[in-house]
Amino acid sequence: MTIFSTDHKVIGKQYMGLALFSVLLGMVLSLVMRFHLVHPDAKVRLFGALWPDGAPGGQMTPELYLSLMTMHGTIMVFFVLSTAPQSGFGNYFLPLQIGAHDMAFPVLNMLSFWTTTASLLTLLAAFFVEGGGPLSGWTAYPPLSALGKITGPGQGLGQDLWLAAIVLFCTASLMGAINFIVTVIELRAPDMGYFDMPLTCWGWFVTALISLFAFAVLVAGGLLLLLDRTAGTSFFIPGGLIVSDQIQGRSGGSPLLYQHLFWFFGHPEVYIAILPGMGLISTVLSVFSGKKVFGYKAMAMAMLAIGVLGFAVWGHHMFTSGMSPYSSIAFSVLTLAVGVPSAVKTFNWVGTLWGGRLRFTAAMHYALGFVSLFITGGITGLVLGQPGLDIYFHDTYFVVAHFHLIMGVAAIFAIFAGLHYWFPHMYGRFLHEGMGKVHFYLTFVGVYALFVPLHFAGFAGNPRRYPDFKEYEFLQPLLPLHVGVTHAAYFLAAVQLIFLANYFWSKRRGALAPGNPWGASTREWRDD
């Protein structure tokens, strides 16, 4: 049956389909969230119909908001950003680019797609159980996430399903990582050494190596949390707790231990989200400048450096956690150090453009947009990476702005670039260039309008993960900013319809594309 195909191209498309569904769902969730933030008292019949418990009479409760927020983050980070760039494009194009007939383990590949699907279905099931989805955020810190229903709605079965989904996703990712790594090591064509591989392949390879180490640790953290929830253990639960007037009997655990385990995975995870895109952007910029990538070897080494150093900086998510302030200093220096290879890549992208003959195809637009957004999102890391400054900005909208620009926008632009670039290969037709450019311009302006103002909310100390801002005087002057941001969000969502229309129309009726429409030199465009 085709749906259980072991062909890497089919599996790649299946992953892309899963990611497309997920990004649309994640986007709808964010629109509902933004709506609620600026209309917290609105009674919306649709909400009441969809979530009778979470939105009685159509009025969204704080717990529903928080569970939508948790699902939004989880869906976007795992099922979009850790899926489309790597398992989507990577499965399809890695074998083609290195001259292999398929991935090293095609059956394992099929199993990893279906395990990912099972993971997504398990996650979505949380919406439908009693209490709804968990409200502890995509980070699920204990004790909030460990003590069960007593800490809040959704913290019962909803949190268990979330954890089960995460463990399934980790398993699927590890299976995928093994496949990618063995494929690169063993199945390259005889004339292709490591440093002859296109940078896209380097992106997939380093990402798979990161995944191998990182997801294993998340499995550990997730299993221990699951045990705390179901088996009466106290890995993360300290003593002396009283929740809702009920004394909790367990003791001896450490909430910080979870954070270490989680972020040891969680930081490398963001490199998993961006590295394949970086590889692709290097290719697109090179092809449409008519020149080789500037400093190929430095680019490959920079990816490796990011991968390795990326494992040494997790503590920058924990500066205010109560961990040793001395370790914060070490993490801080390493965090700003990991900015160096990223800066090198940025310079080399500019170097690739320099002296070139730039063709402004839609793919090229997105690639240039990626570089611009990567700069904008990345440099606020210089603020957040200092614990002395993070002591104000932690858990404010400044952080929300930072990670959305870098992950939720730059990484997505790389996906758009990849789609425009590779669409002729996948479907034999072009995505409509004009529509693509219109979509690009409107989206580029839209994301700046949406996310730049959130930095200013951060300056004001606007905490994140708040269902509404009614309680605080200092937040009232920010309401117009939030209204503006919400409008930008609606605009941005509407604009994506242009892309969707382009995608579905072009699959059937797009202009037919020749074998190598862009004049690229990588193997996937060759006739053999």
Binding site: A104, F105, L174, A177, I178, I181, V182, I185, E186, L187, L212, F213, F215, A216, V217, V219, A220, G221, L223, L224, L227, A231, G232, T233, S234, F235, G252, G253, S254, L257, H260, L261, F264
Partner: protein, 143 residues
């Protein structure tokens, strides 16, 4: 075995090692804090299983696959017995249960792999054996 089989198992071994490294470091951290650490009491017979691992590996090496699978199944069975007998009174017991159960899952997978792939899955099986010696050492001696 082919290069692909060897590299594939090597990469899988790396991932599994990371899992056990994460559990071990979580345990090390927990043991160092709180001052209430109690090493789990392992019944004496558990040390007998120490031999099961090298025996099974030697059998795989000699391509006596059915016998190796029997030895492996014996190991998994004894791990089940150990798990049901742990009193789970302390956090030390809880960690022991987690590592033993994780190992049992790997050992069971190893037995199945031997059944499905034969001696080609030998590298993973040797890792399972070494890992069991490690787990026993962690709880029997170091904890």
């Amino acid at each position: 075995m082919t290069n692909v089989a060897r590299t594939g198992q090597t990469v899988l071994i790396v991932a599994s090692s990371m899992l056990f490294a994460a559990f071990t470091s979580a345990m090390a951290v927990r043991r160092a804090m709180g001052g209430d650490w109690q090493a789990p009491a392992l019944p004496a017979w558990v040390w007998g299983t120490l031999l099961l691992a090298p025996i099974a590996s030697w059998l795989v090496h000699r391509e006596r696959l059915k016998a190796a699978m029997v030895a492996g199944s014996l190991l998994v069975a004894s791990q089940f017995v150990l798990l049901t007998n742990l009193t789970m009174a302390s956090i030390g017991d809880a960690f022991c249960a987690v590592l033993v159960a994780s190992h049992a899952a790997h050992a069971a997978a190893g037995v199945l792999a031997l059944g499905r792939f034969g001696a080609r899955a030998g590298l993973f099986w040797h890792f399972v054996g070494v890992l069991w010696i490690y787990v026993l050492f962690v709880f029997g001696a170091w904890a």
